[in-house]
Amino acid sequence: MKDTPLSNCERDFLLKAIEEKKRLDGRQTYDYRKMKIKFGTDYGCCFVDLGKTRVMAQVSCELVAPKENRPNEGLMFCNIELSPMASPAFELGRPSELSVKLNRQLERCLRNSKCIDTESLCVVSGEKVWQIRVDVHMLNHDGNLMDAISIAAITALCHFRRPDVAVQGDDVTVFSPEERDPIPLSIYHMPISVSFAFFLQGTYLLVDPCEPEERVMDGLLMIAMNKHREICSIQSSGGIMLLKDQVNHHDRKIASVKVSEITELITKALENDKAARKAGGRCGFAESVPQERITALKKEETSVEMTDVTDRASEIVEKAEVPSQTVPSPVVPVPGVGQVGQGLQDTWGLEEEEEEEEDEEGGEEQEEKEITMEVEQHEKDSRGGYFEFSPSIR
């Protein structure tokens, strides 16, 4: 499906508004949209709402063999799924340019910045290590996917617990969460991406562009930074040329402020979730559905009436025609071939010649020799059994 194009009027309007330092949703230039972080029932599942942009991240793990040149290190793998759910422009199948770009950026942001202690993921050196897999699903695309992705991914990583393992000789035992408490990952720092959109050859800049703004922007600068003000990755795309100062001072300052704000939010959200889990209360997505909205409704556990179920079931069974007990005997014209049923003759024309016999015997010789066996089952159509029902019960 194609995306609805942006009209010239809309484009001019947006640019004009930006020139006047106004934004569609009434935000200031350096404002983020309302951000919400929720957690799923599973460990390592995180939903991030950034305005109307919504993404979900799920972290999972698996025991795999390590890379040969790094036998003591666990692996990490990111997969960003641009599901067509988020925008009609996204298509399944081949990864698009955008998804490759986002994936690269996320990997640079998480893997190359070494935010996870990969050595702690080693189980048996050179043989078994944990592979951490981060799946990020786009649920709704309203601009600034990258920031939402990076927040969701790092929060999910912080939230994730991997199963405990014990190594005894060659045997590796993986404990279920009931047997032993799962273990959180050791995370050194939390890189968070902050995106800046540039307009009119870099004269104007906005933080956290929404989707219509992204469409009219000239370029995008993504800075990934942690709260210690260390830059983890920086990427500029689009055809803009930026002044060195712009990147160095201005953007960095803004980014660091935003990053510390977001980090605080994440920490708070994680603490809330931890407290909720400790208290034994229900948590997860089912609990996070807003009750007050009129588009939402919830129904308590209900029991299903079972009266007359028995009667109805037995009635049907009894009323049904008793299947005929006579079974036609199959014809075996030559060894290895059987026929049953009536109707259309098949095109294999077995009855025609004697030659067929030789051919089937050939097949059996093969069976003696090889482990593989094939039986050709020529099923004759039993189309004679053409029957019609009269509607019995209404």
């Binding site: 793998f77 095109t347 030659e355 030789e358 051919d359 050939g362 093969q366 482990i371 593989t372």
Partner: protein
């Protein structure tokens, strides 16, 4: 990680039990009779069983059996070309696709078409194309100049075997002889034209020339069988007026 998500997946690695045989597999006796009793150094092809028109959905189909080699082939078309730019509007286009079923060989094959399959597809394409009147397309039927027949030999030193079986084709003779290789020829019998030729191994030119001649001879042996099968298929499809 490229994984096939469109099929039911098994374990990542599995090995054929034939790798762990307690006894080594039998090797070919270098001389004397062949495993199935046929003669060496003679144009002794296996009996073939051919039947046409087995697949009801296809426009044309054939099933052939020679020894334990079994093959089914179907022809579909004509259909609209997908890539308009490549097609010359004046003539039709032939596409061929050849696949091994995963259980066809000793080693379990993959469902994904391997390079061997592709290679055979290409060879098939090249061998058939000269016999087809593609320029007459689209008209009813597929007119052909001639039948295309094919025969293989396997040279092993000074002796050779015609129509080698799987074992003969894949066994490596222990003697490091000079002349060793395989040759396949596709031949149009009534036009006396070779439409396909492929060989590998290491052979002198004389052997090669002799091999080609042997293969042609082999093709002539199969010729009547195929003709007979075709005639029978035609007779069945359009029975003579007396019967109807």
């Amino acid at each position: 990680m490229p994984v096939d998500t469109k099929r039911v997946r098994g374990p990542e690695v599995s090995q054929s039990p034939s790798l762990f045989l307690c006894k080594p597999a039998k090797t070919l006796p270098p001389d004397g009779l062949r495993a199935d009793g046929r003669q060496r150094d003679q144009v002794d092809v296996r009996p073939v069983f051919v039947r046409c028109g087995l697949v009801s959905q296809a426009k044309g189909s054939a099933y052939i059996e020679a020894g334990n080699t079994k093959l089914i082939c179907c022809v579909y078309g004509p259909r609209e070309t997908e890539r308009k730019d490549e097609t010359d509007m004046k003539c039709g286009r032939l596409t061929t696709d050849m696949r091994f079923t995963p259980f066809s060989c000793q080693e379990r094959g993959s469902w994904i078409q391997g390079s061997h399959d592709k290679d055979l597809s290409l060879m098939l394409h090249e061998s058939l194309q000269p016999a087809l009147c593609l320029h007459k397309y689209p008209h009813a039927g597929i007119e052909m100049y001639d039948l295309v027949l094919s025969c293989s030999i396997r040279q092993d030193g000074t002796s050779y075997v015609v129509d080698p079986s799987y074992m003969e084709e894949n066994s490596h003779s222990l003697v490091d002889s000079e002349n060793q290789g395989g040759l396949t020829v596709a031949y149009l019998p009534s036009l006396n034209q070779i439409s396909g030729l492929q060989s590998d191994g290491d052979m002198t030119e004389d052997t090669l020339t002799a091999g080609v001649r042997t293969c042609i001879e082999g093709c002539f042996k199969i010729y009547p069988v195929i003709q007979h099968a075709l005639a029978r298929a035609v007779r069945r499809a359009a029975p003579p007026p007396s019967e109807s």
